[in-house]
């Protein structure tokens, strides 16, 4: 096992275990913190894949901003103390089983499928591009040139979400 592989397995194990703990903890704050840990491990895996920029954004946006807001809301609503879960009862169990089975099937299928050659970059391409254009340039150039229109449409979608949130939060505008 090479060094890179060892590092990968370490972070993969950390992310899976943390994700498991995230859904099994009764305490919402502990759950949120385990989710942060999962996101960290994922950032490390992105960096192993030479996607430094994505790794940094993973920490900056998800672990640093979104999860802090999650915690903020959990604390503000004082959900912090242990409570029973509403996922009990036979209906909850059936839903759990169904979703679990679906996810397991997806995983099995994904593991067996050989991806189309068009979607597979030759080994080391990303490292080379990062070397040439810098960590940010490798993302920025395609995002703002080749995929500008999808990017703009996404931003309009986000704007609509922001406007919707403001309208919902403010009773009198």
């Amino acid at each position: 096992m090479s060094q890179t592989e060892a590092v990968f397995w370490f972070f993969a194990a950390v992310s899976v275990i943390s994700a498991f703990l995230c859904i099994t903890r009764r305490n919402p704050v502990a759950s949120a913190l385990w989710l942060v840990n999962t996101l960290f491990a994922l950032a490390a895996i992105f960096i192993l894949l030479d996607a430094h920029f994505i790794g940094a954004l993973q920490v900056l946006v998800y672990a640093g901003a979104i999860m802090v807001l999650f915690l903020f809301v959990i604390m503000l609503l004082n959900l912090g103390r242990d409570t029973g879960t509403d996922m009990l009862g036979w209906a909850g169990r059936i839903v759990m089983l169904a979703v679990g089975a679906l996810l397991a099937t997806e995983l099995l299928v994904l593991a067996r499928v050989v991806p189309d050659q068009r979607f597979v970059l030759p080994a080391g391409t990303l490292a080379r591009i990062t070397e040439e254009q810098g960590a940010v340039g490798a993302i920025a150039a395609p995002l703002f040139r080749d995929y500008l229109i999808p990017f703009e449409i996404t931003s309009v979608l986000l704007l609509a979400a922001v406007v919707g949130a403001v309208v919902l939060a403010k009773r009198r505008l």
Binding site: N27, V29, A30, L33, V36, H52, F53, G55, A56, L57, V59, L60, A63, G64, A65, V68, L69, L71, F72, M75, L76, G80, T130, G134, A135, V136
Partner: protein, 404 residues
């Protein structure tokens, strides 16, 4: 392992240990400096009994904290309560890893040790603990994690004052992080790279960013005060309202950990200001420090870097004992209604200016920087003029007073 890898690891570990040890000693020194400068500003003496000029006072405080009793509140969430000081402590120190602190050091070696084998390293050694390709993003990412320690501490204490402190710091740090990030974007526009080594190199070739990005520096400095929970933005631990804020329930070494985290973040932020806007280890008015690496150059630039950092540490303390505390709604109003729009408009302004200068055919250099300085002076004048005349922050207060 190859000799090169072993050599690299050896150099990295030595740099790590030396830098973090120095940083921790620096933190102890800064706690002493804070009390002495505070005393000086308030026309008192301050701690001057333990050692020469009271320099050993931090040791005495450390010893006192070690032997004090650790308390655990009955209402506390035990695991998180114990974890929080560490969560606060780590990000403030990790940040320093990506800051270049001196000119490259000429070091090459190739030797063998019994049992361990051969070590090889081809210099010059960059004087930075980890030269990551995403330097500035790393800084933003890690500094966004600093809030966890405080929030968790506030929540896990099971105390209303702590809890309010935690909530306040959460909202405050998220708000000002945006302004902080936006003010760094202008640095990225000029440098065209996120590596801090490049930021320093670019400033050496042109002028320091404090000239070409003056307003950016002002925004960064204000946000930095809020990010570090320093006066005038120390609402999370406002002692007049919240006893001690998030660390009310902490005692002995755990309290000391928060203390260390706070001053560690202060030093790191000062070093960051020196690096981003004051040329890092660059010695002004000479190109001598950019030539072939030598021991003397490394030492001289190190002294310059420490001097600049020290200046900003002093500036932090100076601000703390000069300005009164903001009210919480004023703090939020300043962050969202002033800092963020100004920072966004400033990015547009700098991008336009860079584009216009490129269209005019102005080459990168001192003239380029000075032209930007002119643009900045105009922008600064407008911003301060509007802020000064409009009383944007105090509106609610004024209105309530008028209606009463």
């Amino acid at each position: 392992m190859t000799p090169e890898l072993k050599g690299y690891l050896l150099v990295s570990v030595i740099k790590l240990v030396v830098v973090f040890f120095t940083l921790l000693v620096g933190v102890a020194f800064v706690t002493w400096l804070e009390r002495r400068v505070a005393a000086w500003i308030q026309n008192r003496l301050g701690p001057n009994r333990v050692g020469p000029q009271g320099l050993l006072q931090p040791m005495a405080d450390g010893l006192k904290n070690f032997v004090k009793e650790e308390t655990l509140p009955a209402q506390a969430d035990k695991t998180l309560f114990l974890l929080a000081p560490g969560l606060a402590f780590v990000p403030s120190l990790v940040l320093f890893a990506v800051i270049p602190f001196a000119a490259p050091f000429p070091l090459s070696f190739d030797f063998s040790l019994p049992l361990l084998g051969q070590f090889a390293y081809a210099g010059p050694m960059p004087m930075i603990v980890a030269d990551v390709s995403i330097g500035l993003l790393f800084i933003l990412a890690v500094s966004s994690l600093a809030v966890y320690g405080i929030v968790i501490a506030g929540w896990a204490s099971g105390n209303k004052y702590s809890f309010l402190g935690g909530l306040r710091s959460c909202a405050q740090m998220i708000s000002y992080e945006i302004a902080l990030g936006m003010s760094i974007v202008t640095v990225l526009i000029l440098t065209g790279s996120v590596g801090l080594t490049h930021v320093v190199a670019y400033q050496q070739q042109t002028v320091w960013f404090v000239f070409s990005l003056t307003l950016g520096f002002v925004l960064f400095a204000i946000s930095a005060l809020a990010e570090n929970n320093r006066l005038p933005f120390d609402l999370p631990e406002a002692e007049a309202e919240l006893v001690g804020g998030y660390h009310t329930e902490y005692s002995s070494m755990r309290f000391a950990m928060f203390f260390l985290a706070e001053y560690g973040a202060l030093i790191t932020m000062s070093a960051l200001m020196a690096t981003l806007f004051f040329g890092g280890w660059d010695i002004p008015f000479t190109a001598w420090d950019q030539g072939e690496p030598s021991v003397l150059k490394s030492l001289a630039t190190l002294v310059v870097f420490v001097g600049k950092t020290f200046f900003f540490v002093f500036w932090y303390i100076w601000v703390r004992w000069t300005l009164p505390r903001f009210r919480y709604d004023q703090l939020m109003g300043l962050g969202w209604k002033i800092m963020l729009p100004v920072a966004l408009a400033y990015i547009m302004l700098i991008a336009t200016a860079v584009w216009a200068f490129d269209a005019l055919g102005l080459a990168d250099g001192a003239l380029y920087g000075l032209a930007l300085f002119g643009v900045n002076l105009v922008a600064l004048f407008i911003v301060f003029r509007v802020l000064d005349s409009g009383r944007l922050i105090g509106q609610q207060y004024v209105r309530r007073e008028g209606s009463a």
